[in-house]
Symmetry: C2
Subunit: 186 residues, 2 copies
DNA sequence: CGCGCGATTGAGTAATTTCAAATCTAGTGG
DNA sequence: CCACTAGATTTGAAATTACTCAATCGCGCG
């Protein structure tokens, strides 16, 4: 399963075996059962997770108690509460496993050490965050310019595999619409 | 005006005078008049702009011809079409100067050279992009969980100075609501 | 068989949009 | 100093979109 992480990194920077051993030494590995919470709002959120198997979601619970899905992270995705993680603040999001899940995780401290230690990894994280930034900007534009149906159709195009794995109510929440409205989209 | 850029960078990494001279050598400087377009959709978008004076907005024009403001960049802000910039693709956004504006800009090629040349600057850009990612995630949560009025109130809290400088119709567009609706929020 | 979860359907309601018209305001030239 | 204009903002009224609440349906599993 380390190989999944290695493949992810080597899509951006090539590593020698020794370098990858160094990289992996900064990570921890942890498995979760379905319905476990890797991070709970209010608690510390010291880790950024790379999912090698299973599925995690992050969500925000608003003042009215309504849940809003921020992200789904199946295999090969990274997930955290970035605000809490990067600023060492209590979590504002919940991370919840929607399936039995295996993760490699890295603390902020170790991430910084790793970046200082191996310049390639600083490049990797810079590129990865850039790509994430672009994706979020596209999502904002989508929320502002597209109807519920258009957003749903786009979601199907982008993440067909998630349709099978995630209850529609959660997809609706991710898209910013009610489960009933999503159900009525033909 | 270089000093504005230097202050921005030194909020994150400390530079010697020689290091800053090296940094600035990778940037260009350019002034724009109000209503000029530093980037136009369809054209190349080879530069990331740091605004030292004035105000630039980025916006997306949808299929119905409706404009959606993605970002405002007053002094001390960075702005670009990140998707086009980082992937060397034709612009999908427009950057428009809302005031006479002075910028320092850097091409993707120079940014990469600078990061390779001066490790501190790779750190700077990594941290900067991280902060941007967090801000966008907060904006997504805001769009999904808050009413028009709540978003407007939050905008006033976050950017009181922009209220004076930007027409309400553009703020409405940034918030994802119509100008009429914003006008009706007391 | 019956439970429980997820998905659907119906009806009424709330928020926001659209289109149109009116009003306000700052800057300009006479 | 005033009239005028262009841009910005506000207001009104109808239409649309999506939400909420409630009830029903479907189905896999013990």
């Amino acid at each position: 399963m380390e190989s999944v992480l290695r493949r992810q990194i080597e899509a951006i920077v090539v590593l020698t075996d020794e370098e990858f051993q160094k990289v992996i030494s900064y990570f921890g590995m942890r498995k979760y059962k379905k319905n476990q919470y890797p991070v709970q709002a209010g608690d510390p959120a010291p880790n950024d997770f790379f999912v090698t198997a299973g599925l995690i979601q992050s969500s925000y619970t608003d003042e009215q108690g309504k849940d809003h899905i921020v992200q789904f992270a199946p295999e090969n995705w990274w997930i955290s509460d970035p605000q809490s993680y990067h600023n060492s603040l209590p979590a504002t999001l919940n991370l919840l496993c929607l399936e039995d899940t295996q993760t490699y995780f890295i603390s902020l401290e170790n991430r910084e050490k790793l970046c200082a230690d191996l310049h390639k990894m600083e490049y990797f994280f810079r590129k990865k965050t850039q790509a994430g930034y672009i994706a979020l900007q596209r999502r904002i534009i989508s929320l502002m310019s597209q109807s519920a149906k258009e957003r749903y159709d786009q979601f199907i195009q982008l993440y067909p595999q998630l349709l099978q794995r995630v209850p529609k109510a959660l997809i609706a929440s991710y898209l910013g619409i009610s489960r009933e409205t999503l159900s009525r989209l033909s």
